[in-house]
C-alpha cells in the first residue's frame, strides 16, 4: 500500500492547489474533407468533427469523475483551414461557421485551426483566409485562429507581419462591443508547433495522424506550494530539483488521463504538453512561483533568470514522465490570465519590455497583453516582428496575442471574464515603426552557426 504522506500529497495537490488537466484536445485532420464545392466541404467537416469528437466531452467528464481530477477544457483542433479554402475557393467565413456549429453540437469549449501557415509566402487560400479573420472571429463564438508568419528555417514573412498587425486591430475593432474578445482568439506565431493542444493557437498539423488526442497539464499552484515548503536559503539547484520532481508528478497524471481518454475514444494518443498554464484563480499563478523563488514582484530584475530556470526544470521533470511530450511545453505567461502578472502589471513592475525579454526563455510569447486602443496597426506589426525575431533566432516558438482595448488608454482595465481573465492596458512606445513595416518583403533565415 502507498505511503500515507504520498497519498496526502496527491490529494492536497488536486484539492487544495488547483492541480488539473487544463485541456484534452482532439486533433482532427480535415484533408479528406476538401472539396471544390465549399458547401460540400463544410458539410463534410461538420460531419467528421461530430463523428470523431462527439463523445469527447462525455469521455473527459467520466474520466474526471473516476479520478476526482478536474479536466477543465475539452477542445478540438483541425487542419489549417486555409488549405481547404485553397481547394474550394469561396468565402472562408463559411468554414468558420461550420466549425462553430460543430463545436456547439459536440459541446467543446473552443475549436482551433482557422489558420494559415505563411512563413515563406502566401499560397491559394492563405490571403483570403487571413483577410476574413476579423469577420470570422466576430461572427462565431468558439472558433480560434492562428497564423504562422515566420520560422527559423524560412525567416520572417514581413508582408504577412504587416497584414497581421492590421487584422489584429480590425478584429479588436469589430468586437469592441464585446471587450474586443476577437483579438483574444487570434495568435500570430513564429515556429508554430503542429501538435499544440492549447488555445488559441491550436491547429492540427499536416504531419499528424488522422485523429489524435493530446493533453495539456497545468499546476502552477502545486509548484508554488512545494517551493513555499522549502527553506528560504535552499540553493537554486535544490529549487530546480524540486520543480523537476513536481513537474514529473504533474505530467504523470496528464499521461494517465490522456492515454485513458485516447483508448476510450478509440484514437491515437498524441502528446502531453508540459505547460504550466495559469488561470486568474488565486493560487494558480506562474508569477507567484517566480516570487516564491525570491523576487519581490514578477517583473523585477532577476525575473528572466528565474523564469529560465523554471521553464527548463519543468521540461526536464516532465520529459521522463511521459512517453510522448510535445506541444508548447514550458511556462506560460499570459498576463490577463495570471493573478500575479495582473498585480505586477497594475503596479507598473511588469512592463512590455520585460515581458518581451521573458519570452526569450519561456514557452510562447507576448500572451494576453492588453494594449492601448489607439495603437496603430504598424506598431502591432512591429511587436509581432520583434517577437518573431526572438523565436526565429533562438529556434523556439514565439507568439503574439495582444488585445487592442478599443476606447481605453494606458492604465485602464479590460475584463474578459472566465479563463481569459482581466488586465490593465500596458503602455507602449509611441515612436513609429511604420517605415520599416511598410517595406514588406522578408527577413532572411538566420545563420545556424557562429552563434554568439
Amino acid at each position: 500500500m502507498y505511503n500515507m504522506n504520498d497519498v496526502m500529497e496527491t490529494i492536497s495537490m488536486i484539492r487544495d492547489n488547483n492541480l488539473d488537466i487544463r485541456t484534452t484536445t482532439m486533433g482532427i485532420s480535415l484533408l479528406d474533407c476538401a472539396d471544390t464545392d465549399i458547401d460540400k466541404s463544410c458539410t463534410k467537416i461538420y460531419d467528421k468533427i461530430c463523428r470523431l469528437a462527439g463523445n469527447l466531452v462525455s469521455t473527459a467528464d467520466s474520466i474526471a469523475e473516476k479520478y476526482g481530477i478536474p479536466i477543465v477544457n475539452k477542445r478540438v483542433s483541425v487542419t489549417p483551414i486555409a488549405m481547404l479554402a485553397g481547394v474550394s475557393g469561396g468565402d472562408p467565413v463559411k468554414y468558420a461557421k461550420a466549425l462553430d456549429r460543430a463545436a456547439h453540437e459536440i459541446g467543446v469549449d473552443f475549436i482551433g485551426g482557422y489558420s494559415a501557415l505563411v512563413h515563406k509566402g502566401f499560397s491559394a487560400g492563405d490571403l483570403e483566409l487571413i483577410n476574413s479573420i476579423p469577420q470570422a472571429l466576430s461572427e462565431t463564438e468558439l472558433v480560434c485562429s492562428s497564423v504562422n508568419i515566420g520560422s527559423t528555417k524560412a525567416g520572417i514573412n514581413m508582408d504577412a507581419v504587416k497584414l497581421m498587425g492590421q487584422k489584429v486591430r480590425e478584429t479588436a475593432e469589430i468586437t469592441a462591443d464585446r471587450q474586443c474578445i476577437g483579438a483574444a482568439k487570434l495568435v500570430v506565431f513564429c515556429n508554430a508547433v503542429e501538435d499544440n493542444p492549447f488555445m488559441a493557437g491550436a491547429f492540427h498539423g499536416v504531419g499528424e495522424a488522422d485523429h489524435v488526442l493530446s493533453v495539456g497539464v497545468s499546476g502552477p499552484g502545486v509548484v508554488r506550494n512545494v517551493l513555499a515548503g522549502m527553506p528560504a536559503d535552499a540553493r537554486l539547484d535544490e529549487v530546480s530539483e524540486m520543480i523537476k520532481k513536481t513537474a514529473f508528478k504533474i505530467t504523470r497524471v496528464g499521461q494517465l488521463v490522456g492515454s485513458e481518454a485516447a483508448a476510450m475514444l478509440d484514437t491515437q494518443f498524441g502528446i502531453v504538453d508540459l505547460s504550466l498554464a495559469p488561470t486568474p484563480a488565486i493560487g494558480d499563478s506562474v508569477a507567484h512561483i517566480l516570487e516564491e523563488i525570491g523576487l519581490e514582484q514578477c517583473g523585477a530584475h532577476g525575473t528572466t533568470a528565474a523564469l529560465a530556470m523554471l521553464n527548463d526544470a519543468v521540461k526536464k521533470g516532465g520529459v521522463m514522465a511521459s512517453s510522448s511530450v510535445g506541444g508548447l511545453s514550458g511556462a506560460f505567461i499570459p498576463v490577463s490570465e495570471d493573478d500575479g502578472m495582473i498585480s505586477a502589471a497594475r503596479a507598473g513592475t511588469l512592463s512590455i519590455e520585460k515581458l518581451e525579454a521573458m519570452t526569450a526563455v519561456c514557452s510562447v510569447g507576448l500572451d494576453m497583453v492588453v494594449i492601448p486602443g489607439d495603437t496603430t496597426a504598424e506598431v502591432i506589426s512591429a511587436i509581432i516582428a520583434d517577437e518573431a525575431a526572438i523565436g526565429m533566432v533562438n529556434s523556439k516558438t514565439t507568439a503574439v496575442r495582444v488585445i487592442p482595448a478599443i476606447g481605453l488608454k494606458s492604465g485602464e482595465e479590460l475584463n474578459f471574464g472566465g479563463l481569459l481573465g482581466y488586465g490593465p492596458v500596458m503602455s507602449l512606445r509611441s515612436q513609429s515603426p511604420a517605415k520599416m513595416i511598410n517595406r514588406g518583403g522578408r527577413i532572411p533565415a538566420p545563420l545556424q552557426s557562429l552563434k554568439n
Binding site: M1, V253, L256
Partner: protein, 91 residues
Amino acid sequence: MKKQENAVLTVVGKNHIGILAGVATAVAEANGNVIEVSQKVMDDFFTMNMLIDVTDLSCTIHQLEENIKASLPETEVHLMHDNIFSAMHSI
C-alpha cells in the same frame, strides 16, 4: 475477467468509536471489497489508509466517497482511484 481496479481511502480526524465500522459498512453497501487497512491513533487523532477493490462497485467512486463522508461528519475523508497514486509515486 475484468481487470481489478482499486481505490485508496484516507480518513483523518478526531478519534471516536465506530469510524472503521462506519467506513466498512459504507464500502460493503456499495459492493466494494476491503483489501488492506492501516490505521493509527495518536493523541486522540485518528488516521486511516484503506485500499478498496472497486471493480464491481454498485455506484461511482465519488458517490461512495460522499456516502462515507455522510456517515463520518467530523472527519476528513478522501477516496481516489489507485491509478493516480501509482502514476505519481511509482516509476
